[in-house]
Symmetry: C2
Subunit: 228 residues, 2 copies
DNA sequence: TTAATAATATACGTGCATGTATGTATCCTG
DNA sequence: CAGGATACATACATGCACGTATATTATTAA
């Protein structure tokens, strides 16, 4: 909708023609529609993969959850693997943005350190996030031909998290005893694993347990000794 | 083959009759055969589930890996779920035995503490173990109707690990800041998670990283400060 | 408004893993 | 050694998710 502006030129061809009162939108409605359904399909795939796992997930479910049939799916993606990889890219991009945002939010180094600590605790509350990242990892391990590709996509995220940890550790004058990337990966790994245990048996691993264990691990790695 | 002999008393019926020189085997050869194939099938299932995951695993593969066809499978198990649960029980029993064994091996409390520490490091080297326990957990999370059942089977193992940790911590005079069960579960969780990360990208999480991170976590929880 | 093109739905064919039914060999009883 | 039972294999039926081919609806251009 948007009565907005300027000749459509769907792609390269800027078809000049007598301008009139109502100028066509820059982006054709068709393209907008396509992108919208792609997003809906990706969102639906995210939910479905997290709920059922990659193997058990049915394209039918993904499409219908997005409000379409399988026809729409195949118009946008080649296969289940295809949308899986597309999801991974979206995922990595989002999480990198999230990390960057975290760095800029707090003012003082001490506050940033606390924010990072809290970040890992919060990470352990996002069920979808844990299950999805598990699917990515399991897929990589079990599909040698896709392993390299998945690893390559994941690495920027690892590096990004590692940078964050290194920077914050450096700010508070602490030397990491291992590579910052491993440290960040380790923290994320524990966070994921604890939520998983919590989901399996929340009577054995409680929310407080998670908070405590993650905090202890964080302090052990970043050499800080905050309250508690 | 086996020129052996005589009365099998397959189950309860101790058919008394004139005893002869060679006393018969208590277990009939048939039962022995059955148990042998069950074991082979379970071993094959263990490999297959770890390699492909529960969903992708095919009964055909399990059977053939064990040296049989699907006929033998269905003679011993009702379905894929059935062997999955059977595997879980075997698994829990074995790991509990393993933990008990660990406790009795070392002499002094200090040695036992070190052995426990090393135990978690070694845990992070068993690929099949990690992938299988992941499958169990994911299955529990994703199948509400089976969740309670799986949780019930897992709990003795958790309790057992918790006891071990508590006992050893107590021996060296340390008070655990959280429940011993959570502590043990947390340690196991980190161990699993780190191996998983290592399998995904062994350039980012190296063997030394795993050893260091696990050690740091262990010391943070059990309050010890051993060398490196 | 109409013709052309893109987006999505419907219909159809196919493969594959499951489960069952039946056949065959091995083992036990007497 | 014969008849019956048990362990396993082979053959068959079914269902289900996938992928493709075709039809229908929405959008754009003239």
């Amino acid at each position: 909708m948007g009565s907005a502006v300027a000749m459509s030129s769907t792609r390269l061809l800027a078809t000049q023609h007598g301008i009139r009162g109502r100028t066509p939108p820059v982006i054709s409605r068709q393209r907008a529609r396509t992108e919208a359904t792609r997003k809906k399909l990706l969102a639906a795939a995210e939910k479905t993969f997290a709920r059922d796992g990659f193997e058990a997930a049915r394209l039918e479910d993904i499409a219908s959850l997005a409000g379409y049939t399988r026809g729409a799916f195949y118009a946008n993606f080649k296969s289940k693997e295809d949308i899986f990889f597309a999801l991974l890219e979206q995922w990595v991009a989002r999480r990198i943005a999230e990390v960057a945002e975290l760095l800029g939010r707090e003012e003082t180094p001490a506050k940033r350190l606390r924010a990072l600590r809290e970040h890992y605790v919060q990470l352990a509350k996002d069920r979808r996030l844990v299950l999805l990242s598990l699917e990515f990892k399991l897929f990589a391990i079990r599909h040698p031909e896709a392993h390299a590709r998945l690893r390559t996509r994941q690495r920027p995220l690892r590096a990004c998290g590692g940078d964050l940890v290194r920077r914050i550790a450096h700010e508070v004058g602490h030397d990491l005893p291992i590579s910052s990337t491993s440290a960040a990966t380790g923290l994320g790994a524990l966070s994921n694993a604890l939520l998983l245990e919590h989901l399996v048996d929340n009577a054995i691993v409680t929310d407080q347990d998670i908070r405590f264990l993650l905090g202890a691990f964080f302090d052990a790695i970043l050499g800080t000794h905050t309250n508690r």
